[in-house]
């Protein structure tokens, strides 16, 4: 049994590494895009007028109220149907996955960023203005560094959620790590071994993210 597993594992290594790389790429892209959009939305809801705040609120509530898998299917089927109707092209399964996961992350980050920005004293922005910094400079050099430090622990948790969320993409046939595991497990009848292996790999992936987060926290907690 063990030998069967280790033999399969060795022969399937390139295959597994390729799909693991897919998982990592999709996660990283979704986290980066989602964080960028989320920071902008957070800024909009912290400073915007009531219309802007209201629109962001609706977006965040809708996104947070829908299960991840439903978001993925919605983008894959509904958005793609609309796109092919209107623009004459469709997104690949992987692109749909990145879009869905980015949307998910953006809502989480938006809420964190809004809270962190609002928690900063008004005096910080005023001190920035007083030395002649313009609005975006104040955000970039004064507000964001402090807000990001504030949201770092929660952000790390959300990032690991995104990595876990990529497993759902196996359901729209994105060739990520979990779909490969499922195929191998079914083909070789080694369910316990392969799912156990997947458990360890995902744990290590997320544990590295946690370690990176802890490192960043230490680095930026000098003040």
């Amino acid at each position: 049994m063990i030998e069967d597993f280790s033999n399969t594992l060795v022969t399937a290594t390139p295959f597994l590494l390729g799909s693991l790389w897919f998982t990592i790429t999709i996660s990283a892209m979704s986290i980066v895009i989602g964080t960028a959009i989320g920071l902008l939305l957070g800024l909009a809801s912290a400073y915007g007028g009531w219309v802007t705040r209201f629109l962001v609120r609706i977006y965040v509530d809708i996104v947070r109220g829908i299960p991840g898998l439903v978001k993925i299917f919605t983008v894959f089927y509904l958005v793609n149907a609309l796109l092919s109707e209107v623009a004459g092209f469709t997104l690949s399964a992987m692109a749909c996955g990145v879009v869905a996961l980015s949307i998910h992350a953006s809502a989480q980050v938006s809420e964190m960023a809004r809270g962190a920005i609002q928690a900063l004293s008004k005096g910080q922005a005023e001190a920035g203005k007083a030395i002649g910094l313009r609005f975006w400079q104040v955000q970039f050099y004064v507000i964001y560094p402090q807000a990001i430090r504030q949201i770092l622990p929660t952000w790390v948790t959300s990032s690991t959620e995104i990595v876990k969320g990529t497993t759902l993409l196996s359901l729209i046939s994105v060739p990520e790590f979990f779909i490969t595991i499922r195929e191998l497990a079914a083909r070789e009848f080694l369910y316990i071994q392969f799912y156990g292996f997947a458990m360890i790999v995902y744990f290590l992936l997320n544990f590295s993210i946690e370690l990176l987060g802890a490192h960043l926290e230490r680095r930026y907690s000098r003040y």
Partner: protein
């Protein structure tokens, strides 16, 4: 003597509450004007209007012949762009009651930020300028410390260095010593007094009667949104005419 700051008929309301009810004030080059008055008299708001941290509804503020905050379009006021406001804010240096240092930057970083991003100085030059001003407030040994590692008095001196480094025409002090422990007030007042004697033009909102008396050329007493009385410190503080000022001085001496 050359007029540096000229305020005419300044009106400012927060909603229905009128905080400044027509302020006229002129500060010449090199003068130190202390503004005293009880809380709620509008003195902090006046300072914040000069630094464009507050908008105002009527009147004008002129710094070195330059209209601040608004443009005059054939008798009608129109606002100016964010970039223009930022440029005008840099004409004045503001020292806050609560210091408002940037906690994520070292003392040096606090001072260099404006030099690098607003005045576009290269890093080395900015650090040199910043080191000079930190030395000037007696903190050259603390330049790599973060605000949380500094005492209140040291933090406020960094705040003063941060404002001075931008080479402002006018320094605004908003109750700069009010948040400090009594034993730390002295070091900040000393820096302010030195600046005053070196010819810096200053508008100082303060509760420190000793500073108003010894370091300022003129003292302005504000009451309920107007300037109730002004004059040289010797006259105004020892021989007040306005009954509210007499009252205020009697209370602050206790």
């Amino acid at each position: 003597m050359q007029s540096l700051l000229k305020i005419n008929g300044l009106h400012k309301s927060f909603g229905n509450l009128e905080v400044l009810k027509g302020i006229d004030l002129e500060v010449n080059q090199g003068q130190v004007v202390s503004i005293i008055g009880s809380s709620g008299s509008g003195k902090t708001t006046l300072l914040r209007c000069v630094n464009l941290l507050e908008e105002f509804q009527a009147g004008e503020i002129v710094i070195e012949g330059q209209l601040i905050g608004y443009r005059d379009k054939g008798g009608r006021r129109s606002s100016i762009s964010e970039a223009e406001k930022a440029r005008q804010r840099a004409l004045t240096g503001m020292v806050f009651q609560t210091f408002n240092l940037f906690p994520h930057l070292s003392a040096l970083g606090n001072v260099t930020l404006g030099l690098r991003k607003v005045l576009k100085q290269p890093r080395a030059e900015a650090e040199e300028t910043a080191a000079h001003w930190l030395d000037r407030v007696g903190l050259s040994e603390r330049k790599d410390y973060y605000p949380s590692q500094l005492s209140g008095g040291q933090q406020q001196r960094v705040g003063i260095a941060r404002a001075l480094a931008m080479a402002p025409k006018l320094m605004l002090f908003d109750e700069a010593t009010s948040a400090l422990d009594p034993e730390l007030v002295g070091e900040v007042l000393q820096v302010m007094t030195d600046l005053a004697s070196e010819g810096m033009t200053m508008l100082v909102v303060t509760h420190e009667m000793s500073f108003a008396k010894d370091a300022s050329t003129r003292v302005v007493f504000m009451n309920e949104g107007v300037i109730a009385e002004e004059g040289p410190p010797a006259t105004l503080l020892t021989n007040p005419k306005h009954p509210r000022l007499q009252d205020f001085l009697a209370r602050s001496q206790r």
